[in-house]
Symmetry: C2
């Protein structure tokens, strides 16, 4: 990976496992990491507590949490009164685009990151999309990220004056959840600080049976790492 040599980078920090690992990856190659999180009307807004913990853990002093209202559009189990699907077989998750897809969410998040980058300044952006996530979400696929980067280089002052210098980094893109965890452990990530669940209780305990919990559980199992998650699942 390209070395950051103390260049600024903005990372989209959800408070989940992937974005926490992404911070570690960005710091490992020398970037000066700034974190951006969103209170967007997500049902699992307690993940922002995790984002604050993760930012603190990594010594990130510049962490912005932006309020935007994606609940006004709805259209997702995460931002509307639609139940989060629960399952118990991680190898048989529903096909197609999940109902937990939030309309244009990553496009909006990355657009805000671009705006911040223009003034920070930063032309390097990290997002923790990975091989498992992008199986269903259109805005987690490499083709989308590449297209966003191309657009960003045409639509911003930094991109135009810097001759296409904007880079969207996706260090986890080709990793399984187990590989991400193994990598994160080596980099000193404390996954006990993170929350992946789409439907946690108000203490942040995980449901254990949403897609995100199932993938997380499987990842820890396959990585041979003790899962530090507190689950409320009683099944």
């Amino acid at each position: 990976m390209e070395q950051g040599t103390n260049k600024n980078a903005i990372i989209l920090l959800s408070g989940g496992l992937d974005s926490a690992t992404c911070v570690a990856e960005a710091q490992a190659v020398g970037f000066n990491v700034h974190a951006l999180s969103f209170r967007y009307g997500q049902r699992h807004s307690i993940e922002l507590d995790a984002a604050v913990r993760v930012a603190d853990h990594f010594g990130i002093t510049n962490h912005r949490i932006i309020d935007i209202d994606l609940r006004q559009f709805g259209g997702s189990a995460l931002t509307a009164d639609i139940d989060v699907p629960k399952a118990h077989d991680v190898d048989n998750l529903a096909e197609g685009i999940p109902i937990t897809y939030v309309p244009a969410r990553n496009t909006i998040f990355l657009s805000y990151a671009l705006a911040w980058g223009e003034v920070l300044p930063a032309t390097d952006f990290f997002i923790g999309v990975n091989a498992l996530d992008y199986s269903g979400y259109p805005d987690c696929r490499p083709a989308f990220i590449e297209a966003f980067e191309a657009m960003a280089n045409l639509g911003t002052q930094a991109g135009v004056e810097g001759d296409g210098c904007i880079k969207i980094h996706t260090p986890l893109a080709n990793m399984t959840k187990a590989q991400i965890i193994t990598r994160g452990e080596a980099l000193g990530v404390n996954y006990g600080l993170t929350i992946s669940c789409y439907d946690p209780d108000n203490t942040g305990a995980a449901c254990g049976s949403c897609d995100s919990c199932l993938l997380r559980k499987k990842g820890f199992a396959e990585a041979g790492v003790v899962d530090p998650t507190l689950y409320i699942d009683i099944s």
Copy 2:
């Protein structure tokens, strides 16, 4: 232009001359127009009064005004305590990217439009960028719009499942301000409802000497149309 045949379209409606003309163009080809405006911390937020008037004028019943805070990033004369440049020679406007460029603004606006489009649903979007505006703003250039459209088709459910059906329409892209005004007059646009000024007073009267006012004045003069704008300029 492709006929809309009563398909939904979302138009970015600022309340200015261009977006008002864009509504007329969209309706002229048969689109069922929904309007999206933003209270983004712009110094000329009175333009939103014009947006409401324009929406009403065109019988748009679905007009959303979204609150987002781009003042938290600043970096522009429109969203920070930076003076709006004033000039008196429209043929000698400053070169390069103007200080009135708002970081990643059109990217953010179009991203919200995509989110709304996912649930409305709408896959047609209109933005009133034009030949004069994009001379300086990176996010008004055709290359940016094309790249945004490509990105949108990869990053949204509608784009993926609809096999690249998302279209960003820019009917004014190749028109001068005078041509836009001539076209709008023919389509029945009441430009007296619109506000283009970057630095109006609190009644909506235009300063008469910002770049936007100068281009607007020149457009009316070249089109041979009486300029209905109320200017506060006393020079």
